[in-house]
């Protein structure tokens, strides 16, 4: 199969020229699954190499990314509090009366999208050309933390199944999908964009083999 545009873009951003060229050359005789497995490996490997080569950038990434997400969490807490017992209660009732569904899930999805996108964008801005690689490192760390939180949350529910009443499960489901899907997608979308190739120093490669098209 011919590599899709997204796959080519990711390879160009995260992989060396020769590696990208090899995958483009080999892809027509391979399956879609094979290609995406290779692309994911290139993204993971490229990000790991970048984070190891730029330790200061890596540390800055976790502080900046974590800080932006923390600010969004504070904002979400404030908004949900105001929706429940504050000045936004009238908006909530108006919404319920006219639209017929709860406003909280929509708020969560919107905040998760905005939080993800702004985190990715901020990482791209502060880390310059190293942005996409550090964003992937941050995303991996975030997903590990999210999975641990989810595991602890599931354990708490199993210990006390009546902790959440049935009507709250929709909000729980939206929160989980927002945290695990919408926010990570936002981080990736925000961190891509105007970025160029990685600036990771690679081993010196000698120029030569002119006219190798006959190979």
């Amino acid at each position: 199969m011919t590599p899709p545009t997204l796959a080519e873009r990711l390879l160009t951003l995260f992989g060396a020229d020769a590696l990208t060229g090899d995958l483009i050359e080999r892809a027509p005789t391979q399956s879609r699954w094979w290609l995406w497995k290779q692309v994911i490996a290139v993204v993971a490997s490229g990000s790991w190499v970048t984070l190891r080569a730029h330790k200061v950038v890596a540390i800055r990434t976790f502080f900046v990314g974590g800080g932006v997400l923390w600010l969004w969490k504070m904002l979400l807490n404030a908004v949900t509090t105001q929706l429940t017992v504050g000045v936004l209660m009238s908006v909530k009732f108006w919404w319920w009366h006219h639209i017929g569904v709860s406003i909280e899930p929509l708020t969560l999805v919107l905040v998760a999208s905005a939080a993800g996108w702004s985190t990715g964008r901020m990482l791209a801005i502060v880390n310059g050309r190293v942005g996409p690689q550090t964003a992937v490192g941050f995303l991996a760390t975030y997903l590990i933390c999210a999975c641990i939180s989810l595991g602890l949350f599931a354990a708490a529910i199993l210990r006390d199944p009546h902790h959440y009443i049935y009507s709250e499960w929709a909000t729980v489901a939206v929160t989980v999908s927002g945290a695990m899907i919408v926010l990570p997608v936002g981080i990736v979308a925000g961190s891509l964009g105007r970025h160029q190739k990685s600036v990771v120093p690679r081993p010196p490669v000698h120029e030569g083999k002119g006219g190798v098209s006959s190979h």
Partner: protein, 110 residues
Amino acid sequence: MGREFLSHFELLILSAVMRLSDDAYGVTIAAQIERSTGKVVIFASLYKSLDGLESKGLVMSEVGEPLAQRGGKARRYFQVTGQGVRAVKAARGGLMRLWQGVPALEGGRT
């Protein structure tokens, strides 16, 4: 090379590059390893190992000219250095001595 051991994958790569001689680049090296082992090669791992072997002085590489069928990207051709050949010979010798007289490897026990 010093006292460092070659990993199994590094040994496969060096052997494939020696076998391919002038036509050893990512695609052909991966194909050679896949043919001989029956396992799928992850190109990112292949290049990570090749970079490692190059920094140890066991292989050297040259970049060819950009080709249209590769999206305008050039091939990177690899060649095993004298030090690399000695490392493979040493590894082969060590493995042969280790395998010699092992009943499970001689069809006795499995």
